[in-house]
Amino acid sequence: MNETICATPAKGALTGIRICDFTGQLAGAGATRWLAAFGAEVIRIEDPVRQGGWDILRGVPPYKDGQTGLDRGGAFNNHNVGKLGITLNMKTARAREMLEQIIRQSDCVTENFAAGVLERWGFGFDRMREIKPDIIYVTNCGFGYSGPYRSFKTWGPIVQAVSGLTFASGLPDQPPAGWGYSYMDHTGAYYMAIAILLAIVHRQRTGQGQWVDLACTESALTLNGPAILDWTVNQRPSRRPGQPNSNRSAHDAMAPHGIYRCSGDDEWVAIACRDDADWRRLAALPDGPVSPELACYNLGERLARQDMLDENIERWTASRQKFDIQRLLREAGIPCSAVQKPEERVDLDQDTADLWPVVTHGLMGDVRVDGLPVRFSATPWRMNRGAPCLGEHNEDVFGRLLGLAPAEVAQLRAEGVI
């Protein structure tokens, strides 16, 4: 990958596209992060009064080398690589005028505030269209801009709760386990990126801009498709005895299918038998977890005795190392993976060796970040620059887009406009 990056031409797939970006956290920032990696100019606008406090991640841990500060949040850096950062105090008329000029020169305005914030500043979609007739406006808010809950606020865990994703993740007779991270901040950002790209394609083909109302809870709900059809078609609810059991296969498609304890402290391995052939391979392992006389079990028989089979498998895995089991089962053709800890999958896994680029941040220096899991043959992604410090690109952006001289920018700063 490094070679590819070096050989990359300066032009990216999205070079020439300018995003006027109010996104924050991960659900929004994660979307424009993708665009920046492909060459879009993403101008991130922050509030100088609250020191960028629109985004709670700005100054929170993890910190590199224990050094704290509002420009040093590790998550913020991760989610905002490659973007430019400017400040605008939207309470001032001058800043609103400057925003107007930026919108006039942008392809897309993006935000994930609670519903209605830009409208209150005087920048509703209708106004933005007056400024720039083909503007694309993409909002990502928890419950969207219509419906009884439109004023409600969310974070990733709330989106996951309300959409069914938390319920569907857990073990029987236990509370919901949910997701140990904001799966829907990542995934909401992916849907937001898709929506932005769709709107750009639409505009390139028709000349027409538009507004995208993305409700993150709604995106999340669409990730439960088969369970919802089981309800509308077969009237079978997911809330029923024995459910959820998300380490097992959904709708009894496979068995055995689980996560089993291994030798060591908090070490686990996942094993799945996709079909009778996998099951026979498992039963054929010398000194394996399944006694050979069970090799003839079909799926129905395996499902009926799944608890017993799981106990047998765990008795076998418990005295073995997870990576030994992974190697042995994969060589036999059975899906199997160690439950990898962060240090294992980041530092030791050869399949992620090219996944964590080093970016340079103004204060933090060199930091590794999440890369992108894609290789483009003609237009590779690039991540070189860390997240912007607060107002880091004021001179650059206001100079290039608004024609302001450095002294004028300094004056605006002194006046509290930026």
Partner: protein, 406 residues
């Protein structure tokens, strides 16, 4: 027209990429699903209509292949390959998840295809990426989630219980999201230059970069997060966030008060419910409500006082939630600008009046059954590019004559 009207997409049917094709098809692309002559094995993924298995009865299939047309081709035969190449001749995007080496062996890999169709965008989605030494390893959604980080971060405070894979298929879905982002990005590049390209998506990598602090706490600070019940994994202790309400349903109390106004609203609600006297930690809420003593969120887990103040916010939420039904808590807290969520089962979310009002339930006709069913609708609402399920999933070989002329 809508965003992708007129765009021709070829999808070589495989379970992991089905959502990618659906996302394009529901936005207007003409997605042609190419199955082997015996049908894609994914036609037999449960659940089934009336619980009776059959190639046209899988609800998994119905959901994931909406708006597509379908043909059957035997790519191992000359005739099938010729038909496939004719499809490629008119295609904008190919999306596939074929086993390692298969397309190359057939002479149908990106080198061959881009030579005859330079504007083609070929998106490959594989478990570990095309170049991986493990490209041929067997996998399922469960094993991908286990290897890529999501499982390590999810589960319960009690580490005697196994870590948990989030609900089904999400490793596949994350791969699909990156596949669609890639295809559209490459399409925008092609609109500007005429140039197609090959894109190699790794599902393992896709989930690896979708675990929040699971990755970046290690990357930045060499800290290892540990799983916790129903909330973020972290390298330091945190309070529980899920509360079982009076009716037995759970709520996620989300992020507790952080700024003085939020603490003040919490105090008001506690008082309104007559619970103030039963809440010894109220003094910490009062400290949170006072701008002079309200700590910075960055001090949680670092300063004892900050931790106590934020913990009191959480405990107040617990006290209130336990005193009422889950839905009432969800609405009541949100109306007070204290974000929370009821933990709905998928069908309960689907039936909630908010999503109904927004049109998330859509009707899809199944003419062969003389019935129509409610499906889950659009993940986003584009004002000028309508999302729509234009037809139910294709039956086996349904569009053979229409597409191949035979």
């Amino acid at each position: 027209m809508t965003a992708l009207t007129g765009l021709r997409v070829i999808e070589l049917a495989r379970e992991p990429i089905a959502l990618a094709g659906k996302l394009l098809a529901d936005m207007g692309a003409d997605v042609v699903l190419v199955e082997p002559t015996a049908g894609d094995p994914a036609r037999l993924i449960p659940p089934f209509l009336d619980d009776r298995p059959g190639p046209d009865r899988s609800l998994w299939w119905w959901h994931h292949h909406s708006s597509k047309r379908g043909v059957c081709l035997d790519l191992d035969e000359d005739e099938g390959r010729q038909c496939f190449l004719r499809l490629i001749d008119e295609a904008d995007i190919l999306i596939e998840s074929e086993p390692a080496g298969r397309l190359e062996g057939l002479g149908l890999d990106h080198g061959d295809l881009l030579r005859i169709r330079p504007e083609l965008i070929h998106v490959s989605v594989t478990p570990y990426g095309r170049a991986s030494a493990h490209a041929g390893d067997p996998f399922t959604d469960l094993t991908l989630m286990a290897g890529a980080g999501p499982v390590w971060s999810s589960g319960y405070d009690d580490h005697n219980l196994p870590p948990v894979r989030g609900s089904d298929s999400q490793a596949y879905y994350t791969g699909c999201h990156f596949a669609v982002m890639s295809a559209l990005t490459a399409l925008i590049h092609r609109m500007a230059t005429g140039e197609g390209q090959f894109i190699d998506v790794s599902m393992h990598q896709a989930s690896n970069v979708s675990t929040e602090g699971g990755s970046y706490c290690w990357l930045v600070a060499r800290e290892t997060v540990e799983r916790k019940t129903g909330r973020h994994a972290s390298s330091f202790p945190t309070s529980e966030t899920q509360v079982r309400c009076r009716d037995g349903l759970w709520v996620s109390s989300g992020v507790p008060p952080r700024i003085p106004e939020e603490f003040a609203r919490m105090i008001a609600w506690v008082q309104e419910l007559g619970l103030y006297e039963h809440f010894p930690e109220a003094v910490f809420l009062e400290m949170g409500a006072d701008p002079k003593t309200c700590p910075s969120i960055a001090d949680i887990g670092i300063s004892d006082e900050a931790t106590a103040i934020y913990s009191a916010g959480r405990e107040a939420l617990v006290l209130i939630a336990e005193s009422m039904d889950a839905h009432a808590f969800f609405i009541g807290s949100q109306q007070r600008n204290i974000p929370s969520g009821i933990i709905y089962a998928p069908e309960e979310a689907f039936e909630d009046p908010h999503f109904r009002a927004r049109g998330l339930q859509v009707q899809v006709e199944h003419p062969e059954l003389g019935r129509r069913f409610r499906y889950v609708g659009a993940p986003y609402v584009l004002s000028a590019s309508p999302w729509k399920i234009t037809r139910r999933a294709p039956m086996l070989g349904e569009h053979q004559a229409e597409i191949l002329g035979r």
